[in-house]
């Protein structure tokens, strides 16, 4: 439904605007889509591939170019390229479709990798592959939140996955040494936190090797530290209790 397009009007399609407020003024530059993030990450090194034009605007869509005075006042220079670089580095930007897509994809992968690293199949004590976790995440329709860290989301995913498949965080193997006096009392308290007690040796001190959920580590640490006033010790024997080596059927 185009009404009237003057032939000499240059239409900027394929534009991503980067804005920055400085010295009470708003400046905008016209960039190509899907390029600004690459520039910021350092993957794109050619400025001409990023900028549509090296002029600085007050309003890109209206085509209002910023006044030279304002530029010098706010940026302390009238070198347009330099100003553009500054705006590119610090301004707020519109994330374009492909950028968003690749960002979410990377995060999705990252979450799956973290989950695969942290978890095992409780039956075989072997990790799941990343592919399988990705598949499972798709099956439960997990949607990635761009503003939450991948680690946080990975923990969330583990919780959700537990409902649909056999999965469990790989246990940590800890060695606890508790002084004899507090041992009994402490053991009661610890009982709920320890998943499996592999060995228990009670002579002068109580020595235990046990598997715990990594989520409880802090709690156990705190408990032992406070209750024994620093005389009990906690040693991490292995971060992940998994089967090693290949197995042939």
């Amino acid at each position: 439904m185009s009404i009237f397009t003057p032939t000499n009007q240059i239409r900027l399609t394929n534009v991503a605007v980067v804005r920055m407020k400085k010295g009470g003024k708003r400046f905008e530059i016209a960039c190509y889509k899907n390029k600004v993030m690459n520039w910021r990450a350092g993957a794109e090194k050619d400025l001409d591939e990023v900028l549509q034009t090296s002029s600085v605007f007050v309003n890109v869509s209206k085509g209002q170019v910023a006044k030279k005075d304002d530029l010098t006042k706010c940026f302390g220079t009238d070198d347009l390229t330099e100003i553009c670089k500054q705006i590119l580095a610090k301004g707020e930007l519109q994330v374009s479709d492909k950028e968003r897509q690749s960002q979410l994809e990377t995060m999705f992968r990252d979450i799956a990798t973290i989950v695969a690293e942290k978890c095992v199949n409780p039956e075989t004590k072997r990790p799941y592959t990343v592919n399988l976790i990705e598949q499972a995440m798709k099956d439960i329709h997990y949607s990635v939140k761009a503003n939450k860290s991948t680690k946080q989301q990975a923990l969330e995913v583990i919780r959700q996955l537990k409902e649909s498949m056999e999965i469990q965080r790989a246990h940590m193997r800890l060695r606890l040494v508790l002084p004899a006096k507090e041992a009994k009392r402490l053991k009661e308290k610890l009982k709920t936190l320890l998943q499996v007690v592999e060995s228990e040796d009670f002579d002068e001190e109580l020595e235990m090797v046990c598997l715990v959920d990594p989520g409880c580590f802090r709690e156990i640490d705190e408990l032992i530290r406070c209750e024994t006033k620093g005389r009990g010790t906690l040693e991490v024997l292995s971060l992940k209790d998994v089967e090693e080596g290949d197995e042939k059927f």
């Binding site: 190509y32 889509k33 390029k35 649909s164």
Partner: protein
Amino acid sequence: MGHTSLDKIIALQRNPANIRNLCILAHVDHGKTTLADCLVASNGIISTRLAGKLRYLDSREDEQIRGITMKSSAISLHYRNDQDYLLNLIDSPGHIDFSSEVSTAVRLCDGAIIVVDAVEGVCPQTQAVLRQAWLENIRPVLVINKIDRLILELKLTSQEAYSHLQKILEQVNAVTGTLFTSKVMEERAEKEKKEEEVEEEEKESKILSGDQVYDWSAGLEEADDSQLYFSPDQGNVVFASAIDGWGFRPACRTRPLADFGFAIKSFHIQAVEQVKGKKQLFVQLVLDNIWSLYDAVVTRRDKEKVEKVIASLGVKVLARDSRHSDPKVLLSAICSQWLPLAQAVLSMVCEKLPSPIDMTAERVEKLMSVGPRRFDSLPEQTQELKRAFLQCSSGENDPLIIFVSKMFAVDTKTLPQNRPLTQEEIAQRRELARQRHADRMAADQTAAESRSQEGQPGLTLKDSQPEEEDQQTFVAFARVYSGVAKKGRRVFVLGPKYDPAQGLSMMPEGSSAWDRVPAVPHLSICSMDSLYLLMGRELEELDEVPVGNVLGIRGLEECVLKSATLSTSPACPPFIPLNFEATPILRVAIEPKHPSEMPKLVRGMRLLNQADPCAEVLIQETGEHVLVTAGEVHLQRCLDDLRKRFAKIEISASKPIIPFRETVVRPPKVDMVNEDLGKQHKVAIIHQVKEEASQGRPSDTLHVDHSGLVTLTTPNRLATVSVRAIPLPQEVTCLLESSTELIRTLEQVNMSLREGKSLDISPRTLEAIAGLKAQLESLLQGRKWRNAVEHIWAFGPRRYGPNILLNLVEGYQRPSLWQCLGRGDQSGEAGAQAAGMRDLDNSIVSGFQLATLSGPMCEEPLMGVCFSVERWDIQSAALPQHQDSLKEDSISHGALTDSRVEGSSETWTAGLCQARRRPQAASADCYGPVSGQLIAAMKEACRHAFQAQPQRLMAAIYTCEIMATAEVLGRVYGVLGKREGRVLHEEMKEGTDMFIIKAVLPVAESFGFADEIRKRTSGLASPQLVFSHWEVISSDPCWVPTTEEEYLHFGEKADSANQALKYMNAVRRRKGLYVEEKIVEHAEKQRTLGKNK
């Protein structure tokens, strides 16, 4: 010949002299199964009309669809000549992927029918099967098939066809000849070697050496090879067209030739006219007749002549056949009566192939002597078994020896005992039951009704049907070599490593002691639940199977994985393992579609592993389920089996994950264009920009000096570590890699020592540890490594990997890693400062472990990197007043335990001290406990130190052995070159025209390698891949041109393919790490059309 009854076959089984065990071998599509069809049809199991079209022995659905055989299957046939013969025929697949099935078939047979296509001649698989038959010492006979193609497709004249056939015969004989000469050569070499050994042993070699005149030609001349070759004179060649159902054997002068004579008289038309020189008798007598028959029936469709021929041959042809629009029908109707194929082949088989009784002593010895052991060295009782073998008697007291060559799965439903009964059988059983019922009524009148019901067949039948409807039962594909197999009999199952001498010594005298058999390694006991006669897809239950027969055994799935030797005598040695032509090399990772179905997949893969002689299944450390198959087609079959039979779930197969390692190397002396780096100044603008971007961030806590020493301070600024990464020499890496087990024990010993417990270490491990130390010392020499071995702090990752943490901190002494070697001289005394630091020792090690577990390039483990800690300061705030604990330190037993325990307690008090100083922090430092911070700092320091050095990726490398003939050598090189392989050496196999090429190939490039090489060489080269080592990829993944020369050569972007970068990015992408890549290559080129345009 009508259908042979089961009783007849059972009767025949008892006469080993008239049993022939044979298999049909050939290249793919040369007509094995069609030939088998004709033979099956001769027994009336299928109609002669359908023979060649039905492919009766291809019982799998995919076999029928694809039109190739995928498994070997057996059928017992009855043939009546002047005597009754029982033929156990095994059809085998021709495709190279299934050559393992051929091996399983060949082992059970005494003879083989080699089928060769008259048009295609000798093909790669023909050679392979001939070799296999040769290696198993079985006698082959030849069938040249598809003669009809010579007539109808190639339109050869009979004379041309004759020379063509002769050529094929020569080809086949040439292959046999090569096999023969190579064997003779080998024997010779062996003999000479032995003689040399003898010579060396006996010092009086003077006398001997005088006699040692090597006569090179002697070996070949001495050995007799007259029996070896195929020749029509010897009667071991049949010319046939299995599809048309005819075949004849020239040497057999009884019927066919008489017929020929008759035929010559009646319709021999042109032969005389073309006398040009002398026409061979064979052409004249045989081929011409066939040619004119084809001419009359198929080409010209001359009704009259056909009638004449039919009349003169005395063949009866049904009206329906002669009126059929397809002349082939008429042709096969005539031919199958005139020159019946089954007759020709079967008579040849019965005459030429040996019966089980005729088994040669040589073959028996070969079967029974495993590995390097010679037959003579086996125990006496074992040698006695050889007699049983040769006698082939099926007496009650003869030892039973069975070889199981494969396990195959059948639906439990189709087993004879579960099959729905036929009307007759039901009637029979009812009669039986009624009688029993009556008997019981008479015996016990009171409790009649209810109990007698139990005797009824209907009920028992229901009971016997297991709950699991679609269960798979494994049936062993086996042959009796001695004695009688009886249903329910208990046998020893001998694993491939079983040693009869050991078994005998451990076994109580007399084999009656079945119940209390001592635990002999590789020996178990099993009972044969049922025995079956194999009839293609059907099984017939038998009570006993005498010697020399092929049979199926149920009830072994617990004890037998793929193949085994069964015997009632513990003296029996296991047979030599099957000789596989193709080893499994195609690896894929298998995953269920739905993650929750994992257990089903695992179960299915276990079953598959048992059912397939060639497939291998393993779970890798990464959690991948890997299936290794022989090739693309084999893979398809395995996946099909998994989907439809074993797992019954949706699965997907994908390229397996390829592992990499990260390492550092010495800074290169020359740049990428081989210019000396020292003289040039760096232009690197881009490079510098990047470096700033990547390292400019944590400027205040991190400091990197130009020599690569990285100094990092913890966030609370209390501890500082300085780390440098140094490449380890390659030999050291190899040594560490190979001695992981030892390092692991060393680590355990150290751990217990630290706790003050004295663990008793066997002197042998101590010796081994000392040996390792000495080796390391000898490898780590030079100024840089002075005293390095003494200062080793830890290995990593996981405490036993191929990376070293070196303690070069001045004034910090910690118990040596080698303390278990000299326990006396270790210094228990250490300064207060050091003792305090020792508490945090563990944190440094943990940091190192974490850093080595995943490197900065693509989070893969490090390899061959040495991190030396050159400075480690902890400010006093982190190390609180330690004096109080000092006393205890020196008092307590092992000094070390205590200080450690105390130490960690100090850590916490340290935290408290800080808390006092900084009230704003709640309980401890806002950055968490010191130990944790130190771990993180150490990890980061290691990573930065790593990045400060030139980094490289290491790729896993396969060694690849390829057997190829001379003509495809170039293609092999081509494929290897394309996939970044390097040829190490190539040599010719003596006595053959085969070359053996040894090459290395990155694992990353190996996916689809086998398939490609086979395709390109039309199957003439067969590779084998074995993982060998890790190799540094020479190109730098982070490389950008820095010198002027490089700019000139590569341009500013340097976008020529960088193999290492490609690998690294692939891994990073897979893991969801950041990949430095443009989302859009050219900004201008993307188009977003506006709404109003």
